[in-house]
Amino acid sequence: MIELENVAYSYGGDSLFAGLSLQLAPGSFQFLTGPSGAGKTTLLKLCYGDLLATSGHVTLFGKDAAGLTRDDVALVRRRIGVVHQDCQFLDHLPLSENVALPLQVSGRSKEAQDNLGDLLGWVGLSRQAAQTPPQLSGGERQRAALARAVITSPDVIVADEPTGNVDWEMSQRLLTLLIELNRMGKTVLIATHDLNLIRFAKSQVVANVLRIRGGQLETGVTL
């Protein structure tokens, strides 16, 4: 699905990492950890085409990321559900429309009715469906971002710190949703600091743990 081969990235100064390789096999479940500022968010952005590698090759769904046109990138995004670390919304629209946005943008608004209600119920936001994002609590926004990422039932789900602002019970609930999707064959990649979350996941599903440290990617890390 998504392949990074010998990739380096720099924001202008030193390279954050170099010679990094990673394969996200279809149906796999992966965690990404590492200290704050190590480059987790950067790595995820490379995976959904938001950044282009300064060297090396990134292959998204069989195509070279560097060769994608702007419209191609838009199409790639429709196959990847993303939870941004600072969950971003259209602040003037109610939560329900924000969550349904990916469907609307790809001309599939009809499908929204079916699963929007269920999804909001699962992440505990049924009561808040009509509130706008600035009227939500931090944790509610994070849950909404996850709901928006999975509503199109995309092939890949990339979540950046999706549980930083929710309590442990809700974290488990959100993770369960992702595990469910993974069981349906979706690929899942989660960046997180929460080791308990990783432990909990490992008890439910075969999960691989990656760690960035000092510009290197370690795979198969044991906690």
């Binding site: 938001d50 702007r70 419209d71 838009a74 199409l75 790639v76 995004r77 429709r78 993303v82 941004h84 971003q88 919304f89 259209l90 602040d91 003037h92 629209l93 429309e97 946005l101 990916p102 609307q104 943008v105 790809s106 608004s109 928006r148």
Partner: protein
Amino acid sequence: MNPRVTQILGLLQGDREADRAVPPTGFTARLTVFTAAAMAFLAVFALALSVATGRLADRWSAELARTATLRISAPAGEGEAQVRAALQVLETTPGVASARALTPEEQAVLLEPWFGPDLPLETLPIPRLIEVTADADGYDATGLRARLQAEVPAAVLDDHTRWREPLVDAANRLRTLGWVALLLIGGAVAAMITLAAQSALSANAQVIRVMRLVGARDAYIARAFVRRFTLRAGLGALVGTILGLLAVAALPDGDDGGFLTGLGFSGAGWFLPLFIPPLAAVVAFLATRAAALRTLRTQA
């Protein structure tokens, strides 16, 4: 149908969903409508000025170029002969369409302001006047004067230049001023709408980021912005044009012959300003589209 036309028609029809993605931009919206309205209002006046002074200048130029007076102050008795000689000269002058001696009655009317109505013209040694009308090409006044000097020394050619030229000059200058103002206004509208659109775009960087994150194409994102600004510019210009037309119509009307009193439109001229709103909309469409696509390309 032409794809560009389809695109513009699609704009009017709209896409409720894409539209909702861009927040109602409040002040920028009002600013755009207001700017378009104010500029359209001014444009109507500039247009009225151009059209009216254009009309005036044309009338005056025509009169100036085409009529002149030949004055023959001959001793009594010799008048008729001199007039005939002058008429002959004029007939053989290229560029003169017609030449006609004024009748004594006509001369009396001309002199009335000075002498009152009961002037015994026949007893006076007053000069005879010949009205000269030029054809479209005009004649060579200097050459004509030289020939007259030789053949009818008592004749003096008065081609009214002294009286009419500054007036025509002024009218032409006002007309130029009007067209320059129109051009400036058009440029100003384009610049202002571009800037307003760009400031709306940069104020909505977050919207663009989110739309892109969920897989929206550039064209989809641009459409909502472009549609809004086009409609707003068109609407504002329409309001401004209507107000401008009302204001022009409300100007006191002066008698038609009065100098510069006919500032306004006449007949089909009233339809001219109706081109302003669609023009403003087209300018807004092009300006916003360029601004939107540029912003979308540069914002990674």
